[in-house]
Subunit: 212 residues, 6 copies
């Protein structure tokens, strides 16, 4: 049926051309472009391939040979441009025996965690200072509401790991100790605003490379 | 009263300069700029005219001499830059006798339809697989919730038409048949993921220009 | 193949039960429930029928035998519960010869208008006090950015009408004359805040039923 | 230092009382309350415990002894009230050898998938009908933009599994075959709006329990 | 403990590099870049200093030697790039004795006002034309819902002032008199759409520099 | 002109009834209703008065006779129901000489501060651990991006005060010391997740009434 076929091609051409132009199904980040409040500019759809939507960087855990014996491997928009504008992203947590992801917040996102190996003790604290604390087994899921202080600690004698997802392509990551001690905020001011003893502050500033 | 007048001019100058600079009443799309997650960059307000906010392309229906005997004429941001960032857009549907807008979704918007000529049978299906089906007369309005499969069929012996509005300047348009059959997705994979018979798949791939 | 069929039923049951419970495809307004910042509570999905998504109240124009010789017929959430939470709604404008929809704003939505009969002169004013003014023919579309003062005037010798859509299920409608003159705001205060003459204010208050 | 202590208690009381009242750190769903456009009403914070934020239902895969040899186990707001209002949720996919999650969409969310066992071939189709197809290994991540048709197929000879996260607490799940064939949408209308042959439609309606 | 220190540095490097890249804690406006629907592009974080987050322009009131004997000094994104993308901004109101901020709207934001000197009579009108009117003392706070007409009048015999905050970095400012009379909108059309007398319109057009 | 008047009344009745029903200009919180993800249910408009939109609780500073010699007086939705759903709120800071608002975050809002008396040293820390620190004079404005740790310290020898506004009606308030020390989070776990010495932790737990 050649006539049928040709008519369909007309239809095809019509719809394709219009939808091509007007569609914003996705907006893969052009990381060279300037960031904006809603994310990065979109890569031209013509240059987008499936590899923009696939990320292999979480297949292996990060190096845990460090003081916290733990690693956070992000798949945020800066590492994984396909999530730009889609309102989600991921990361992988690895905790060697004794490993700790210390108190931190994500200023712009809620987080959901699923344990994939070992046991993890996780907790968050609400504005009312209530503690929500649980030791999670493999397959358990826990959610951490946006912006609240939380932590994860390896509760197993083996390496534990987890995947975490965020409600933003760029959730941010503010680690409490780094915010307080790994910069040039004067020790006296840290003391005044945390009630910590000066000796304690100077000790942690020393360890974390802070000055002042 | 010249003094009065001069004082008012001061006032005029003050407010205008401040509001000029700080206002984002609208953001007419500069379609040459890179698209972003929230839309296109804004054309300079100095170059904006009323013609940016007016679109005449829906005055006539699209050509319905095609296999579906129907046409969708969009006034999305790509055709109508004035809607950029405003969270709405329009389109016009034309259905010749026997015409059909086949099953499709708008991934990023809800839709509201008003019949302007003839009769249209429209339906959508919910996640619970319930069908919401109605034959609409001239002046009837129907709403299609975001992202759900829906269709429109001419229910009159005459040409029917409708205007549809969307809750996004770039609602997207995914036509089911095109998604399944008008590309190189291997027929076996289509079969596996739709339970359609291979012969059926190959037939429609043939008609729609798909390969594999 | 009964075994095949039974297995599929298992599948059906599994998916249906899970999706039934967790889906919020739509949220038809229960208008008896208390309104909230995001809209009305949802009617139980079990009680939702296609009639919740269809509205016939725009098929006929409103009565234009009034001082403005025009009528606005809304299909907002209060009239059309199916749009609740979907971020859009509609209305119909009818203008007899000489009819006017006077200056007004929609505090919570942008508007898109399509002329379906006659000619309409429409305009809006930006924060920079620039006027965007056009006389629209049948089929012409014009967009009015959120919150800006705008108006529509019949530009034909015949009855003109239009459909308008909004980027909110509850766009609001603040008519300038009503805000200024149809209430008990003291005339002196109206004068002070509009620079209108007292006689003018009292005249319009008289006509519109205002006091003070 | 008792005085110091008492003063601090004043401070404690002041802040606690004010923050208790004004904080909405989280909004655990009261599933008995009526759903709304933004989610369920909040359970009283006094009754919230850590168990509201922890979900163990993804620890085991669903039963894959069914026609698709696969299972989707959701942790959406209906199963996991702690995610209410937080803009994310999870699910677990299990695919026996030969298992398939057939073509489906999530009308209200983007999805990110991480393979935890085996190999999965996943794909989505854009509005422009382009196919983005990849076979993923353990630890690989893939993102599926909001509202687009996508599928997952077991590409291993062993059981494969994955965790998926969504950018909504209630992402919805519309399975194509169920939408088309598992209800009372008349076969002729399905044919008209999908171009499928009537025999094909009737066959799948039969299998899926559809009528008409 | 040098080993300890070195390990911590590893940790420091790991986290910093990853978080540097993926964080969008803030997006200070690059005012030279093209504006977009969500705001301006971000200045490179490397060039951001504390001065981007501090604004001294509200320390002094604006010049009130003008016809309204009042001044509005904005700290919107155009004046204060640090608020870009953060969803808030400020302004300062100064009212000499007899001063008036005439009827106006902010098309894109709600406003909250706190009196810092004198007394201010403020009011807004709802869509239902109800007036909400109050004379505020120093320290009193009043909120004006988005997009509604409102005004502020000095109710003291001394200079009064206030700070106002907005729920947008770019709230807009549409002053009613300017919208109606300070442009080229034809007087007849103003009359038709406001019911004001022609003499009144021409008088105010004269004062405000309007034409037509 | 009685006829004219009567026609206008028709017009009045028509518009009022339609706009009454469909408008959601504001949504004053009914604090007895259950909170939801978007805020509280709306008080019936018939019962809303201007006092719902006015708050006098910030006219006086809070009591600073406490360990921090400072007070935060909130005008969040719980204290000021008029802001419900409007995306903003306020608070007042009072700092006696030596007063400190210690390190804290607002999990759900950005903050803008204006000094109204004295001098205030304010700072915030980014995810990249950079410190943004400034001593502000009367009238200076500073913005604190959402979710980041920040503090305010009196930098004058006199009482200092400030108004702060937030981009949410319910911004939350998580005070670091309270989150760490004013609850039953076991001291060992605090140590593990903050690297603070146990003695330091126990000392602050003692002062703040924490246990464990």
């Amino acid at each position: 049926m050649p006539e049928y076929y040709i008519l369909f091609l007309f239809f095809l051409i019509f719809f394709s051309s219009s939808s091509h132009a007007s569609v914003q199904d996705f907006c893969v980040a052009d990381l060279k472009g300037p960031d904006g409040p809603a994310g990065y500019p979109c890569k031209s759809p013509a240059n987008v391939t499936v590899s923009d939507f696939v990320f292999s960087g979480l297949a292996k855990g990060g190096n845990t040979t460090n003081i916290i014996q733990a690693a956070v491997t992000p798949a945020f928009v800066a590492q994984f441009p396909g999530v730009n504008g889609l309102g989600l992203s991921m990361a992988r947590l690895d905790l060697a025996p004794g490993g700790v992801i210390p108190f931190h917040t994500h200023p712009g996102a809620s987080e959901i965690l699923v344990v994939t190996r070992g046991h993890i003790t996780a907790g968050f604290v609400s504005s009312a200072s209530t503690v929500y604390l649980e030791t999670l087994k493999k397959g358990d899921v826990m959610v951490f509401p946006q912006g609240l202080l939380h932590f994860q600690v390896n509760a197993a004698k083996i390496h534990s790991s987890a995947f975490v997802s965020f409600s933003s392509a760029s959730p941010g990551l503010q680690i409490l100790d780094f915010a307080l001690f790994a910069n040039n905020l004067p020790s006296a001011l840290v003391g005044q605003t945390t009630f910590l003893d000066l000796a304690q502050i100077k000790k942690l500033k020393g360890v974390l490379g802070g000055t002042g």
